[in-house]
Structures are given as C-alpha cells and as structure tokens.
Amino acid sequence: MDEFREPDAADSAPENGDTSRSGSARQEGHTSEFDVSRRDFIGGTGATIVAANAMPLGAQEAAPSSGNDLAETEVPRSRIAITVNGARHQVDVEDRWTLNELLRDHLELTGSKLGCNRGECGACTVLVDGEPVYSCSTLAVWADGRSILTVEGLGEGGAISRLQQAFIEHNAPQCGFCTSGQLMSATALLERNANPTANEVREALAGNLCRCSNYNAIVEAVLAATETGGA
C-alpha cells in the first residue's frame, strides 16, 4: 500500500533536520508557535474543520489566521455530514470545494488523485453510495448525507482487498497514478457483477485513463479477482 501514501515524512523532515534554523537565536522565543509541520500549518490556516472522529488538527486553534479575513468571510460555506470509509464527519466546507478537494486537502485522504480536474481521466474516482463518480466534478456540499469510499477504505483489518492483491500480482500499476481510480471503478464493477467478461471490464474502466497504457495488465488483474479467477 506504500504507493498510495503521500510522503508525509518527507514533508516534515526538512524542518526537523534544519539545524541552522533551530539554532537561530531570533526564533528561539517562538519555538512553540513555529514547531508545527508544514502539513498541519496549511491544514490549520486553510479551513476550519470540525470532525466528529479524531482528526489530527491539534494545530488548528493555535494557527494564526491567514490575514485575509474579508475574503474568507465572503466565500459561502455550508455545514455537511458525510461518511468517509465508514467514519462520520461533520465538516464546514466552502460551497465551491469539489469532493476531491475535501478528501485530499482537508480530510488528508490523498489516495484519490487529481489528474485532469475536468472529469476526463478518472484518477479522482471514488464511490458515492457504492457507485463510481469523478470526485473532481462533484461538489463536497452535494455529498451531504452520502457515504464515500476511497482507496484508503478498501480491504479490511489492515489487509488489502483481493482486487488490490491481484493488481500487485499482475503488475497492473506502472507509474501508479491512475491505480486508485482503476481500483475504485473495478471494485464497483465486481460488486454489481461478480464474474464480468473482459469486455465488461474494459467497458466499466473506460472512464479511467492510464497514460502508461497498461490496460491489458489492468484487465487481467480485474479478471483474476473475479469469483472464477477469470477462468
């Protein structure tokens, strides 16, 4: 699953390892204020998020305001309730946020990718109430009351799903950028049709482009994850 994770560690490493900055007398008095990771800082200033389950937003209250309060108050916002990978969230969103923005930038679920941002490539595919949609092309506020499944929610008890295992065994990902979208479309297909033909797999995945053009291996992997194993 490592290929689906953003390099959080790499984000905070420069701060921790930068001895010249931590040794600066000028900043010593402000250590508590500056001792936050870049991710937490951006998360805290970008939005006020109220999450029902525990979210790592401890820095939120301490973070300084972004300095453009007028602009922020003018952007219309709404409170929504959504379930993501089984966890319920109450979230304040800007009306203009796409579902992809909410998931990636504010709930820290970076498994669904942002490719074209115009409903063409499929890298952002997530399941809404079990059906695949382009999360870049629907609004977070329209997902109010809906149940979302992202690639982070596949598999159970820390184990990857049968489909994900098949992707590994059949080398379905090359660069891997489209993989989470392919997995979500294929997961929905296998839910509605446990034994699709190769053509049905191709049809179901037509909205997920692979710039490495590894389509044959992707179809093989999905067929291997069917009940009959593609036989």
Binding site: R118, G119, V128, P132, V133, T138, W142, E203, G207
Partner: protein, 336 residues
Amino acid sequence: MKAFVNENPGSIDEAVMLAQAALREGRSVSFAGGGTDLLQLVKERVPNRPGSGVPDVLVNLKRVAGIDQVTRNDQGGLTIGGLTSLTDLGANPQLRDRYAVLAEAADSVATRQIRNAGTLAGNVCQRPWCWYYRNGFDCYKAGGNQCFSIAGENQLHAIFGGGPSFIVHPSDLAPALVALDARFRVAGPGGDRSLSSNDFFVLPNEDVAHENVLGDDELLVSAVIPEPSGEIRSHFYKIMDRETWTHAVVSAAVVLEMDGEICRTARIVLGGVAPIPWRVPAAERLLADQRVTPELADSVGIASIEGARPLAKNAYKVPLTRRVVERAVLAAAARA
C-alpha cells in the same frame, strides 16, 4: 474556482423562486443536475448562460423529491424525471423493452462515472462542445458575435442547419427523445408548460446564443413519452472517433411503428450534424407503409443527406450520415 453560493431547494417551485431572487439581485444563476459539465464551465470561467457570465448561484436540484424516476403515466406512456441518472435510464427494464432507442442512447454517453452523475435534463440541456466555445473564444455561444469555426477548424461542426453559429448539438438523449415524440415539461416563473421536444430546440438563426427555449429561470422537469399506437422497433446508432468516451461524430435515433413486418411510420433524428437534433422527413416518408429491405434502407440513407452543406473540413460527415442512417434503420427493423 470562482466563489458561488450553492442552494438546495426541496421543490421545483422553490428552485424557480431561488433562481428568480438571484436574478433580481443581478446575480447569475445556473441549475445543477449532476453538475459534471457545469463545474467544468465554472472552473474554466466559460459563460454557461450567455451574457450573464459565470454563475454566482448554483441551484442544486438533487434534493428535489420525485424527479429522478421513470413512472408509467395515466395515458399508458412513461414520465421520466429530469434528474433520472443516465445509468438508471440505461438499466431501466421498461425502457429497454419498449423504447430501446432511449436506453441505448443513455448507455452510449461518456463513461460510467459520468452516467452515474449525469441526468436526463442535464444531458439534453448541456452546452455545446465546440472547441472554440469551450476554450475561451468570445463566440456567439459565449455571448459574443462571431463563429470562429467558419474559417477555422470545423471538422466536427454542422452540415445541416448551421449559420450564423455552426455548433452541433452534443446530446445523445435529445435525438432519441425527439424520435420518440416526447413532450417536455418546463417549470418557470409563470408555472409549468408542456411542449413538444420538437419545439424545444432552437436553431442559431432563431436564437444564436441558446440551443433551446429555456429562459435563465426555467428548467426541464420531465420528459413524457407517449404510448405508441402499435409495436415499436427502435435503435440508437452512434459513431465516435474512438470506441467509447466521447460525443457522436454522427448518430441516428430511429423509431419505427410496425404492423407485422410493415413499417407504418418512421421517425429518424440525427445527432452530431446540426445545431439541434435534426429530423430528416424526406427519409422518414420513404419508410411509410413499406417492408424494410436493404434496398429501401439504402434509399433512406440517400434521402437523409438531402440539403447537406458541409464546411471546408467536414464533408466526410455526409457519406457517414448516409451509412449511419441506413444501418440504424436496418438494425431497428431487425429487432424482434
């Protein structure tokens, strides 16, 4: 993305009132069904309603109850809610059984992801996909006073009904609905009105900025398909520049009312070739009270291209249209 307000009306009346209120305050409005296409226009700052700019207010119709289903109506026909998803239309057994042309048209749209979000009304009312309109050119469709395709890249543009704009109507459902002689229910400030799908679309020489009669505060609520007087055989045939995931280069929706093996009346409506779903009455008439043979279908194809006026780079659409019509008529007639 530009900041806008999202409104969630619970009824059609409330949706219309919200749109009116925004317009009175000088704010631009768009109704949102699935929203897939609308959000691309907003992101790219392409004016959705010509002359009113990028919307300040989106009126989300997904909370309006009772407009996302296919139901049998009192007259024996079907009423299809405007918010019915394209996936649901494609899978609907009543449609597949009696009005295959519409289910096939819905199945042919884009991708599973878009069919899950996309709706009947949104597909019918989507703005053109002309690359000039979509890429920031100040053309007729964006509120300007020029069509850049005339002297430009017009490979995908109109061979019928063009001028002064030469866009083609992008909807796959629209030709199928016109071929089924559907009526559209439209809601607006003056209440509801019902009109023939044939009268819903407007040519550029009548209204160059819009593709249909809807005002800024009006929306398409449902399509009503009449009960056929006899057996119906129908087919939707779509040619794309690849096998899937794009608009029609040429499409044909064919509906034949049959009496045994004799076709009593036919309706043939083309997509991808004109600024509106394009009926071909001369071709339809050839089928009246005839047995459908390969020879007749060939003649019908020839009749369907009467009056075609290609631009510099789209003459290929003329023979393509002829063969699409021929094949679609034969496929419809071959339905058991």
